[in-house]
Symmetry: C2
Subunit: 885 residues, 2 copies
Amino acid sequence: MKKYVYLFTEGSAEMRSLLGGKGANLAEMTNLGLPVPPGFTISTEGCREYYAQGAKLPAGMEEEVSRQLAVLEEQTGKRFGDAANPLLVSVRSGAVFSMPGMMDTILNLGLNSNTVVGLAAATGNERFAYDSYRRFIQMFSDVVLDIHKYEFEQLLDDVKEEQGVRFDQDLSADSLKEVIRQYKKLVHEHSGRYFPEEPKEQLFMALTAVFRSWNNDRAIVYRNLNKIDHDLGTAVNIQSMVFGNMGNDSGTGVAFSRNPSTGENKLYGEYLMNAQGEDVVAGIRTPQSIEKLADDMPHVYEQFCQIVKTLETHYKNMQDIEFTIEKGKLYMLQTRNGKRTAAAAVKVAHDLVQEGLVSTADALLMVEPTQIGQLLHRQIDSSAKLDVLAQGLPASPGAASGAIVFDADEAELLGRQGKKVLLVRTETTPDDIHGIVMAQGILTSRGGMTSHAAVVARGMGKPCVCGCEAARIDYNAKTLTIGNLTLKEGDLLSIDGATGRVISGSIPLQEPELSPEYLTLLAWADEYRRLDVRANADTPEDAAKARSFGATGIGLVRTEHMFMAQDRLPYVQQMILAETLEAREDALTHLLPMQENDFYGILKAMEGYPVCIRLLDPPLHEFLPSLEELLVETTRLRTLGNDPQTLAQKELLLKKVRHLHEFNPMLGHRGCRLGITYPEVYEMQIRAIMNAAARLTKEGLTALPEVEIPLTISREEMDFFKERIDRIAQEVMAERQVQFHYTAGTMIELPRAALLADELAASAQFFSFGTNDLTQTCLGFSRDDAEGKFLPHYLEQKILKANPFVELDRQGVGKLMRLAVAGGRATRPELLIGICGEHGGDPSSIQFCHEIGLDFVSCSPYRVPVARLAAAQAALSDGEVLGTR
Amino acid sequence: MKKYVYLFTEGSAEMRSLLGGKGANLAEMTNLGLPVPPGFTISTEGCREYYAQGAKLPAGMEEEVSRQLAVLEEQTGKRFGDAANPLLVSVRSGAVFSMPGMMDTILNLGLNSNTVVGLAAATGNERFAYDSYRRFIQMFSDVVLDIHKYEFEQLLDDVKEEQGVRFDQDLSADSLKEVIRQYKKLVHEHSGRYFPEEPKEQLFMALTAVFRSWNNDRAIVYRNLNKIDHDLGTAVNIQSMVFGNMGNDSGTGVAFSRNPSTGENKLYGEYLMNAQGEDVVAGIRTPQSIEKLADDMPHVYEQFCQIVKTLETHYKNMQDIEFTIEKGKLYMLQTRNGKRTAAAAVKVAHDLVQEGLVSTADALLMVEPTQIGQLLHRQIDSSAKLDVLAQGLPASPGAASGAIVFDADEAELLGRQGKKVLLVRTETTPDDIHGIVMAQGILTSRGGMTSHAAVVARGMGKPCVCGCEAARIDYNAKTLTIGNLTLKEGDLLSIDGATGRVISGSIPLQEPELSPEYLTLLAWADEYRRLDVRANADTPEDAAKARSFGATGIGLVRTEHMFMAQDRLPYVQQMILAETLEAREDALTHLLPMQENDFYGILKAMEGYPVCIRLLDPPLHEFLPSLEELLVETTRLRTLGNDPQTLAQKELLLKKVRHLHEFNPMLGHRGCRLGITYPEVYEMQIRAIMNAAARLTKEGLTALPEVEIPLTISREEMDFFKERIDRIAQEVMAERQVQFHYTAGTMIELPRAALLADELAASAQFFSFGTNDLTQTCLGFSRDDAEGKFLPHYLEQKILKANPFVELDRQGVGKLMRLAVAGGRATRPELLIGICGEHGGDPSSIQFCHEIGLDFVSCSPYRVPVARLAAAQAALSDGEVLGTR
């Protein structure tokens, strides 16, 4: 017979996957000799077996529970259902990973019409006994019998009103008996059965309900969001009750071993005398700060402080602890690694090393890379005076200011024009993605931390405040009303995604300040990681910023961003519209010195480190007015018929734009295909790069340009450009009488490039994976279309486990990458290989890049510290997936 | 020292790759004891070495040529440059594959001011000698010195005019001497040097010119078109001259051993007495039919007939032969396998088997699969009375009728509306592709057999007449004028691409008739091939046609084509525009019986064979009006402001269309992604298929539906649909009380599907490669955009060897296919695998499909015989590339 039930004395912290987090820690504390009320845990294996049997308790489980219950009775000297000295237990779920959304807790189980009398007698407190019974019925009915607790509260309120009392605690024992009578009547009406009297029946019903709650909707959503395996199952903890509400020598509280907000090494928490845990939450009385316990009960406080120290030393991590004091005796009810803010995570990890508790490697594994990133968001200038209008949920950190827009299309339109806008919606849907992308931040009046807006904004690293219910939005009038203030479209507004504040007008933003602990931690990371971390940057400013964050090179300079600048665009358009090679070359002559200065600045900012410059990539029509715009304009002019000259001009432009129009621009005339059809454009860029390198070399600086060819699919393409790159470099070196080092390589961003990597590597000196396009082509997903349309369905239906544009698709795209690495290195063992897609800043993807042996990852400047830490964690786990949750 | 020069006595037919086709066959004939004027061949290796050395004759080659020349002098008893008895030679290129466009022939080389006198004396014919000299100077100057022959002809005409004579042969020897004087003056003026006197100098200059001509523009274009390797090089043949123009006992001619047009086993050819080869071509005198030679020179005729029989028996193939008679003596100048029409190819191959000359396997290898296809084009009803307006070039076979359009956009627009149009252009460019695709046929007034229109049309199997110079096109007036007749846009016109005829009005077309030899040959093919051949068909008529052509199943039914029909579209639009599930289901209720009838018809037409039905694939916006159209319409209405009601309607539709609009529809919300987001649409289709199968089964017929899921990337998708397919099939079988067999499988058309084939095969019972989409995503080429924009550059620059949408890209796409086959069969060894893209009808691609072990290919009905033959050839060559050229 399989063993499903473990006494706390039989378990340990290592048995987490079997006993769940809570059960394993209760066992560990028990075995550390700490005062834990005795109990036992029904394992996650039991839950899995429950589902395997088609939602039935597995054979033997009931007997085993009964057997362990007998042991519990022996340990406590009380008996289940004993009218004189009844054993009461709590029933709590306990998954492997902490998981809100599941059935949580039933207290006081074991009470019935008989035992409540015994409890009253044993405690000498009839009111306490009946109040406990009332609470039990309410909790049990809510979670086991599916009768909403609201209905019970309604009854309670009615009785309170009848009795003319305001607070629960003012109800007499007799009033509570009446409440219990009505509760039982409600249960009978709703469920068609009497509230169970038999404690064992109560217990097995509760146990089954916990198992069932593993698969309720909220739990499933939570697991999807947090990528927790749906097959793990939950454990169930049965523990003998202790009561913090037995009088003024009793109490209950929660504490962190250190400050979870700042990381300061100082006990942090609060407690309430004569209360049960739920009273602390209910907020009827204000809890005391934990230090006050030293006055109230100095011995208990001293004992508690020692236990906390013991636990921190034992677990080598900051602890989040629940305790109860029953008649002056301290009981530990839970300990677990405490959740903490990003700043605290860094400080705690750092301090634990200083205190000699953990190694630097352990410290690095204690911090989530994404937390590191949060510390780099821009924040509100602390000296600014703020006019806070309302408070919403802090859904995605960072502060943002912009003009209010109420429509995603409008947000996109203005955003593309370079205007800063804040998208304000009651809630967002996948249809709004294009607007979210272009907005500075998002404010919604409805929806919680896991609403669409929140999830999407966090994914994009975009500030977001959700569920700001004080905000009333009128789409027709295009107004936002908060209290007496009514704002119109275009009015300025700010949000602080870290606190949920909604602030009037535009606010000054401050660059983040990095603590010494932060810098130390990242320095430790650099000692472990094997992957180089570069940044994607298109300007000298971004390059300098990236360097200050620890980037040792630029992995991607997108030259097209420079083409979009106001002083360039006319020449770029002239180049595109040129009817002859001469006209095109004239435009290029103007662009050459500008590009040279661009590259000079970036190479200088990254002096001494490699800078990978990608030649022009997007289709040319992106530099011209949109087809739609021109269509509307020409139709209007034609209909009016009053300005034939402008019409003729516009029609000519329309003709050219139509000529360049593509059905699938992503798969069209772009990347090195432009360089094949218009070699003079790429030659201008190559010359600009070489000129810039020559100038820097003359100045005594080290320029290390890497010329990158986008969108290749064949060695022939690479050969075509390699010949030009070498020729122009030689020409420039000869003209300028300098020597400098440069390399030529290619993006690997199409499946054929990955499949023919062995051939490409014959000509390319480096590869850089463009995993965005590689994902688009490997999966056949146009990102712009997928994320707004079918991808949410795919994630919801679990057809894909994660958004492949955020987390690298290891099975598909990853397989192509492995093929490309193997092929490329087979031809050229010293081949430099990196990644410069957005995945380069995603910890899971970085882990994969480490596994398959890349040389560098490149990401946006603000992600550089994240990548440094993630790369270190990858090296530390070396091939094994981190158990960071 | 490397050997570059081979006497004819040293070579053989097997040495074709070294000696070129012409040289190898001259050697073979020599060694068969046939009367071949002696000579030698400079090998293709010599040419390759010439280029390897940077266009210089390799060391030792001159000496070797001189040595073999000495042998030749010995064999002929004449000497090079000998004034008394001069040796004259012809210099001819001779590539491995016959290749028009290269420098072809220089005759009479060795003549100069001295030897011409000797030749006159030796032949006793001064006029003949000087005429030979004149011709030599002209040919040599044209091809070696780059002086256009037109300039020489001009001089000749001037002298003829001066002398008052009409034909060349009427010029006296003295007049010819004057012509020669002027020729030499022209050469000196043009080239700044005297015409070479020294025969050896002439020889090496000619030799170098032949090598050079390997890389002239026309030769490169030809090789690109015919996919001949640019590195092969050409051989050069030096052969002692014989003269067909030495009097009335001399002559020259060409003949085929069988009729190259019909294949009839009867000598076919023509000859001209007292003439050189070029006179036959010049067409001044009408050549005689070859039978007439029996009267003119019975002994020579008899000898010739015997030689022809010998050659055919020796080569086991129809021969194309050139001969010359010099003073009553027969000389063989060339033999090669004769080019023949499709009909002749089939008959010759068939007859050679009947005659016991070749095996059926050999016969199958003698016919190009694409020729087989030509015989299936529709032709003009032979009983129809035709009003032939003009004659152009027969650029792409087949007949077509349609309304005239002058613009590719218009052609596309009307074509999409189901109208039959004929695209009429002066010439076409890659920008016209979208119009060509939708037109019935193409007529151009300019451009030859290798013009853009011709090449593209042949590629698409679309009728085309090119270079119809009688047609004058006025784009502004939108008229086509032929003689006195002026046709307007919309007028009906027909073309016959097999003959080049342009015909007034619409003409009745006739299905092709297939000869018994054709059917026998295909029956032989079926005995050898391992691949099944299915057809792509969307209607019962197409299915029946395919079956009549030998298809044993349908590989692809595109259900979307049915949705476009006029009676369906309103319901399809209702389905798309539905705001609620109920409204959508109402539309589906109307579509279900229609689809059931569609499938019933196709399954019935293919009764007993499998029919693979692909569920809805294209993005939904394809069923709605275009965004552009609506934009123009709403802008117009808004500008006019006089019809707010229509404007509101249109704006609503525009909003929906805009909502469905995609940036890259090819990678967007289509394929099974529609089935995931709107499962009710796919469920309707599945039910329609099962209902149809149930009806047929009830009628005692065997229906074998295969339900195909498009655009999958994961097992999860396949599972999603497999469950529905099985459930609905069970429901229908239970409702209708029948049992029938069906399977469920998937297209493999995205790289991820190929990479995860092992997982997909766990749920899919068959795979069908959609190589069009697989090519688009693997290479990142949108076909619609690439073919009109950069793909021509890619082919021209040799970055790609062939259009990957026509011939399967073995390196990239092929690698994915291999991975998919291996992965799929690893999971499910009995997995059925086929291909249903356009590549399924391309012989090279079929070869590859055979190699990697597919079970079937599927192509358009008219390609089925092509595929049957190609599959047989693949099996016969089994793994080796066919040397069919």
